[in-house]
Amino acid sequence: MKFKDKHRFVRSNMKKNRTRVWMTILASTIGCAFLIMLASVGFAIHKTAIDDVMSYRMMNEIQIQKENSMLEENDVKKLEQIKGVKAVTRKKYTPANQLSIDEYNTYADVKSAHMPSEEKAGFELEKGRLPQSKNEIVIGYHFAENLRKDAPKNFLEGLSEEEAQKKMKELSYKGDLLNKTITYHMKTDNQNVKVDEQAKTLEVKIVGIGKKPTKEWAMDNYVFITEDLYKEVFSILGEQDPELEAAENNYSEVNVYTASADEVKAVSEKIEKLDYLTYSVVSELKELNIYFTLFKAGLIFIGAIAVLIASIGIFNTMTMAVTERSQDIGIMKAIGATPKTIKRIFLLESGYIGLWGVGLGTILAYVISYGVNFALPIIIEQFINEKPPEDFILSYIPWSLTVISVTICMGVTLLSGWRPAAKATTVDVLKALRRDV
C-alpha cells in the first residue's frame, strides 16, 4: 500500500469520527502548549539572567582580586607576563571627585587609568584624543549631562519622578566640552576630614570624550586622569588626610583582557595558580547555566506530565478506533493486508492526531507567550503602579525549546499509539468475519 493511499485512507477514517478526533487533538494541543509555556518561563528567566550578566561586563574580561590585600604595581607586572593576556587595565580610585566649569558643577567618578592598556582592552573615544600630558583628562559620555547648574529653590516641586528627570536636563551643560579647561577641586570625599572652603583647585583640560555606552540605561560619568596627575592629587590630599598615604599605590580595579572569550577559562586558571582571585562573566555564566539547566529540565518534566495525560486521550481514542474497526481490519487482513500495513495505518492515524496537537499547541504557546509578554507589563503598571524593568519578559520560546517540546510530544504520541496499533494487527480474521453473520 502506497503512503499516499494510506494517508487518504486514514484521513477518511478520521473524518468519520470528527468530534472524537478533534477532542483528542484539543487535549494534545493543551498538553503541548502547557509544556512549552511552562518551560518558556524558565527559559525567560535564564535569558534575563544571562542578558543581565552580559550587559555590564565584557565576555573577555577577568576581574582580579587578591585575598587579603590590594593589588599593586608588581601584581600588574606579573599578570602582564601571563600568556594569553592581551591587556591589564588598572585603575586607582581618587578621593577628590568634584569638578566644575563656570556655574556648572558635578561629582564624577574620578580614576587614574593606564591609558595604553585601556586602549588595548578596547576603550574607544567618541571624539578627541587620549591624554598626552599630565593635566589632560578623558571624560565619560554622560559627563556633560551630569554637569549641572544649582537648582533654584522649589525647582522640582510638585513634579512626578519622570517629569523631574526631564526638568533636571534643563540644568545640564549644553555646549561641547572638548578642549575646555575645567576646575578640579582638591577636596577629599572622606567625611571625617574637615576642609576649609578655600581648598586648592587644579585646572585640567578635557582632551577626549568616551564612546557612548551600548546599553541604553548605562550612565558613563567617569573621569580618567593620568597617573602623574593622580600622584599630584594625592600629595595635595595627603596634607588634609594623612590616612590616604597608605592607599596611594593601591589599584582599586584590575582587569585582565584576553583576545577572545574562549581563552578566558584557560587564562583564569593560570591566574588562579598565582593565588589571585578571578571573576569573569564566563565563569559566572557557567554556574548560572548549570543552575538554570536543572531548573528548566524540572519545568519540562512537569510540563511533560500534561503531555502524558493528553496521550492517555490518544491511547483511548486509538483503542476505540481499533475496536470499532475490528471488522474492517478483519476484512482487510482476509483480502491480503499484512500486519505491517495495518499497524502503519493506525500509527499514522495517531501520528496525525499528534501532529495536529503539536502544531496547534506550538502555535498556541507562541500566541500566549507573545500575549503575556505584551500584556503583563501593562497589567503590572496598572495595578502596582510601577514600571517593570526594561526588556522584561515572562516567557521566552527559543528554537531549542520548540524542538525539545515537539520531540517529547511526538514521542509520547507515537508511544501511546503503539499499543492500539499493535492490537489492531492481532485482530482475528475469523472472529471479525463472523461478527455480522
Binding site: D5, K16, D328, A334, I335, G336, K340, L433
Partner: protein, 234 residues
C-alpha cells in the same frame, strides 16, 4: 492447484490450564486440479469451513501440509500469508464482507490499493470489474444501499480484480434468493470456462449439480472424495 495432505486440525478452547481440545479434521487429503470447480459438502459442524479456513490461511495447521499453485503455504508467516492471499487468492463469503464505510467502487478498488497499483490502472481495472458484474451505475453506493445480490456481486468483483487463479468460497449463495443464486452459479461457471479460474467452494447438494465438476464430502472430519463426480458427468 491445491494439494492438501495429512491435514489434521483441532480447536483448543478454554483457558491454558484447563484446555479442551476439539478435534475437527482428521488426516485430510485433497487435490484440486487447475480449472476445476470442486464443491465441499457435508453436514453442519462437519468441518467444511474449518478446511477452507485452513486453505485460506485464516487458521494455521499444526499437522499436515497445504500447497497452492506450487507454493507450500502451510509454513508461511502471517505477513507472507497475507501477501499470498492478495496475489493468488480471491474470496467470496456468505455474508459478503464488504467494508461498510466504503462505496462499492472503493471496495472493489481496495485490493489494488493494497497492492500499490497506480491510480490510473486502478481506476481502469475497477470500472472494468464493476461493469462486468453489472454494477457500474451503483459504484458510489455504500454496501448498506445495495441489495444482497448486488452486494455479493461487489464482493465477486473485488475477488476478481487482481485476476487470482483460485477462488475460495464459503457458501457463496447462502444469503441469496434462488434467482440470485442461479445467476451467481452461472457467473462462476462462466468465469471457469472463459478464464480457467479454479473454484473451491462449500455448497449445498442441490446447487452443486448445476456447475461443480466434483464433490467432496466431509463426514465428521473425515473426507470422502469423488462420490458425486460420476453423477455430475452423467
Amino acid at each position: 492447484m491445491i494439494s492438501v495432505s495429512n491435514l489434521s486440525y483441532a480447536f483448543k478452547i478454554g483457558k491454558k490450564d484447563k484446555e479442551n481440545v476439539v478435534p475437527v479434521l482428521h488426516d485430510v487429503h485433497l487435490h484440486v486440479a487447475k480449472g476445476e470447480i470442486v464443491a465441499i459438502v457435508g453436514r453442519s459442524g462437519s468441518g467444511k469451513s474449518t478446511l477452507l479456513n485452513l486453505i485460506s490461511g485464516f487458521i494455521r495447521p499444526e499437522i499436515g501440509e497445504i500447497t497452492i499453485g506450487g507454493t507450500k503455504v502451510s509454513g508461511l508467516t502471517e505477513s507472507k500469508w497475507a501477501e499470498f492471499r492478495l496475489n493468488h487468492l480471491g474470496f467470496i463469503f456468505q455474508s459478503f464482507q464488504l467494508i461498510p464505510s466504503m462505496t462499492a467502487y472503493e471496495n472493489v478498488e481496495f485490493p489494488l490499493v493494497l497492492k500499490g497499483v497506480n491510480e490510473k490502472d486502478r481506476k481502469e481495472k475497477t470500472l472494468e470489474m464493476l461493469k462486468r458484474v453489472g454494477l457500474e451505475p451503483y459504484q458510489n453506493h455504500y454496501p448498506g444501499e445495495l441489495s444482497g445480490g448486488q452486494q455479493q456481486r461487489v464482493s465477486i468483483a473485488r475477488a476478481l480484480v487482481l485476476n487470482p487463479p483460485l477462488i475460495l468460497a464459503d457458501e457463496p449463495t447462502g444469503s441469496l434468493d434462488s434467482e440470485n443464486e442461479r445467476e451467481l452459479l452461472n457467473f462462476i461457471k462462466e468465469l471457469n470456462e472463459d478464464y480457467g479460474i479454479t473454484f473451491l467452494m462449500i455448497t449445498h447438494d442441490h446447487e452443486v449439480a448445476s456447475i461443480a465438476h466434483r464433490k467432496v464430502e466431509i463426514v465428521d472430519g473425515y473426507l470422502k472424495e469423488g462420490r458425486m463426480l460420476h453423477e455430475v458427468q452423467r
